[in-house]
Symmetry: C2
Subunit: 311 residues, 2 copies
Amino acid sequence: MSEGARISQLAGLLAFDAPGIELGIGDDAAVLTSGPNGDRKLVWTIDEQVEEVHFRRDFLSWSDVGWRSYVAAASDVAAMGAVPWCALSAIVLPSDVSDQDLGEIGCGQRDAAMALGAPIIGGNLSRGRSLTIATAVLGTCVRAVRRVGACDGDGLWLAGSVGIARAGLEALLRGLGEQTRLAPALAAWRRPRPYIAEAVAMGPSAHAAIDVSDGLACDVGHMASASGVRIVIEEAALLADPVLCDVADALGQRASDLALYGGEDYAIVIASDVDVAGFRRIGSVRVGSGVALASCDGLRELEPKGFDHFG
Amino acid sequence: MSEGARISQLAGLLAFDAPGIELGIGDDAAVLTSGPNGDRKLVWTIDEQVEEVHFRRDFLSWSDVGWRSYVAAASDVAAMGAVPWCALSAIVLPSDVSDQDLGEIGCGQRDAAMALGAPIIGGNLSRGRSLTIATAVLGTCVRAVRRVGACDGDGLWLAGSVGIARAGLEALLRGLGEQTRLAPALAAWRRPRPYIAEAVAMGPSAHAAIDVSDGLACDVGHMASASGVRIVIEEAALLADPVLCDVADALGQRASDLALYGGEDYAIVIASDVDVAGFRRIGSVRVGSGVALASCDGLRELEPKGFDHFG
């Protein structure tokens, strides 16, 4: 299939209407009226998923590859308290990814786009050695919530689960993908959930926010250092997640290690002095620096380790 | 160097102020006030440059790689009559590209950003097997000029040169890069010029526009089929470019073939019924379909061939 035919195939799959989009796939660029609501801010990010770095094709379907690539990118927009508006997708295709495979990637992207309410309105296709999907996402918000802003006395709150996606990847790496108890973990890694309603809910009141892509200890560490505060995570709050405890048990791993160091759940963590719908409290913000875990054994400083592409 | 250190290095290189940018590199996403001018439209594109597909590292400097990747993407924004506002850059780095090399890529991106007046305000770094740079560019305009809209009776107008970049690539492929006569061709391929003033000038009056990335015959063919018209290119007008004729002569190639089928100059072609500053007339729009070349031998139909990644 020619480049033009492939683009037409994807355009047919991906097109749907959304406010403020004047022109989608098919010209040199997409055209947007400036913001679906006049007074809003734009929040803009790009994320890239690379085969053999972010995923292995024997671990998930092509449609999962498409879903993950979009939800991972949209998560950075949600983590600013913004709602995804639309996206562009640039795909590098190796010759062993067929037209049908590309169609399935597009189906996964479209499923994510429908779940996010934000269509993919343009992109680029290129040949290359490794399958690579770069997704640029525009979102809108009234107020952008940054990593900086957490204050002494704030609570630390979590929307979603942490550690379960990592348990899913572990299960796949160890060939345990067929175990029924691990099914929620596989689903969490293959099809991470977007947290858009939670992003909207936290917008007005959160002092700081970040999404958990590299691991809770690492990402909360970014918030602590950006805000110039110390953050204490309660182990008991992490262990209050029955799915996490069950998949950890099935793998013979410590649930708190999975929760602290497992990435790719794309949960959202905020610092706030009020309760926010969809979030549960998992710790507190204090004067000082660093990140610590509070358990029945006392306080333990956490290394801000997580996934570093260049570590 | 860690991922964080690499991002800091690039952030230091790439940051500069521009209107409407509230938050740049360093958080989950960039934050923009919606349009630097309230009433404008947003024009949005993504382009990707892949090593061994779009460039060979022995053919240009790292800084050229950075420049080209940004200007190629910005060209799609200019081709809609829009002015680049800001950009995001996602880079996949193989292990044999050093920190210093990455810094030079960043310098080239920054040089292009300064030339375009549009800073790079965020991005993503990932490991991978092939050096790949995806650039997403947001631009603004009052009116977006599309490929559809060319009318019978319009003139076909060109800003910039065509065929010269391809001559530069040919020179490099044949090991003729040292020939003084070919220096303008090498420069055209390595450091394509952005045509922003011309994009602004054509905005109010152009009926249709496209940038020449794959080759004049191919890209004008896109305009003809989108607009439902026939376009006739005048060979004499193409040959009125003395640099093109000189580099074609140095290579022993037909200048009109280079002009019709050579890509990557990122010139802009428009259909318009009035003269536009910065553009010269190279043909006309008629009733019918297809693209033809008018020469002293008569009319010759052109195949819409050009660079197809999947052809």
